[in-house]
Symmetry: C2
Subunit: 328 residues, 2 copies
Amino acid sequence: MKLITAKDISTLKFSELFQDAVRYLEADLGRWQEFKKSSRHAVHFPHGVFELMPVADGAHYTYKYVNAHPSNPEHGKLSIVALGMLADVQSGYPQLVADMTLLTAVRTAAMSAIAAKHLARTDSSVFGIIGCGAQSEFQVYAMRQLFPPTEIRYFDRDAEAMEKFERNLAHSGITLTRCKNADEVVRTADIITTCICEKAKVRLFAYDAVKGRDVFINAIGGDCPGKTELDPEILRNARIVVEFYEQTKKEGEIQNLAGETACDEMWEIVQGKKAGRTDADRIIVFDSVGFALADFSMLRMLHERGIGVDVALLPEPHNPKNLFALFR
Amino acid sequence: MKLITAKDISTLKFSELFQDAVRYLEADLGRWQEFKKSSRHAVHFPHGVFELMPVADGAHYTYKYVNAHPSNPEHGKLSIVALGMLADVQSGYPQLVADMTLLTAVRTAAMSAIAAKHLARTDSSVFGIIGCGAQSEFQVYAMRQLFPPTEIRYFDRDAEAMEKFERNLAHSGITLTRCKNADEVVRTADIITTCICEKAKVRLFAYDAVKGRDVFINAIGGDCPGKTELDPEILRNARIVVEFYEQTKKEGEIQNLAGETACDEMWEIVQGKKAGRTDADRIIVFDSVGFALADFSMLRMLHERGIGVDVALLPEPHNPKNLFALFR
């Protein structure tokens, strides 16, 4: 079994890693029907959530453990850490255990890139982002692979987070426009990514701020019951795309809409069963909560790269029915 | 974060490990109401199952990953391997990842011991076991801590498994009676443990073989939809005790009974809210499927022992909101 640490991953060449992430994820969305899928399992506390995200195809079973503790950064800790496991379906034996903290940010950005490719206007050039936390630069990176942005507009309640964001993008050649609030961010943005950490039903900006415009809203922060970012009026006036409806209905922005919501699932668009952006579309919301398949793709990528160190975690009795003998 | 291998665990003194396992598990059953509980998550394939078993109290969140692949031993592999994780509830950070293959056998035996203490006749002396696989000697060990057995009666379709079982118990001083079938095992047994691996609805022995006798049936092998070991007629004529009804109804022997089944949960007996065996009880079945709390107890025990090696699995950015910086 391989143990793959965050250091093993962070020393990979990022541009290749990201390209691979998109490639593996697109390939897996392309064979969506082959997977055994379910909503993730969540244990909620007032201050944070603990999630398990399993999925399997005929060759591999994977799960990711991930938390979300919005106040962790106040204590010098990451809001979100994660670890993943990949097992061989034939035997059930784990083949790798890996840090998934970095790859959670990478796969979320890869999914955003796939969504934007299909759902944003091809002439998008102003990128807005609300929330300048750990995922923000990954999101900017994803969009830059698709569109040459002329301007990035951004806002975070935490001024230090904005300063960090600015330092990271100082040499990007893109105009950086620090905004006073979310409304100001979205006013002229073509692509809007919402990624705040607060666990509450907030309305980052009013429907009026985007009304009638052909914007793509990449809503990735609302991902938990009781944690949403968008004015429901926006949803009522948008085409909505999700990862896996059954899970998103409980966790995504659409939890605020009564009854069932008409949505496309991203795999339908990747497979060409549903159209991407058409002339008839105005606001399109990708109500992204994070689905197990994206983690599967990353774990499959790690497995095929063969990185990490071998560890003998499991017992290896001479006779598999003589487990007890190991204790003597 | 600690990484705890099977070797780290197998080098512990078994008698102390088992005593501790019972002690931790009894303590946790004693505060059952403090836990956030749910049925485990399972992904089924024709040849095996993949399970995730999460649970949390106010201090720790744990999960166990475990498979069950009955035909693995034909390829020199264990039917069941497992790994577990314990995280700090305050931060969500993993504190240990451990092999749970050995401790799955240990905790199952510890749970059997707790059940037998409350539900078997105190003068039990003949122990029957059907299935001489990886868990069988752990089960015998558990019962020997409570009762001085005069005889062990056993059967397995696999003669080599019985030979291994006999070698392991050769110096126990207990009469070993190899039986030709399960009926012969149970005929004079006071405590009957069923632990075969086959994924099917089998009837190991007929109700008539135990009818009217004060036996304790420790049914641990039927633990999956479509995988049961007992004649439902036995269940209709027995007092039934389970770990967590919501899960057992789907996975245990009682899946074969229509509608809801009147059961006691083990914690109720441990806490004295329900009686253990009374004079009115004849057959008592512990319909044990394996519940996440027992794994929690083992992971808590490992955590408090502080064994294993430190590994830096997760990223440790200087600024928790500057995850992207780790890639440069």
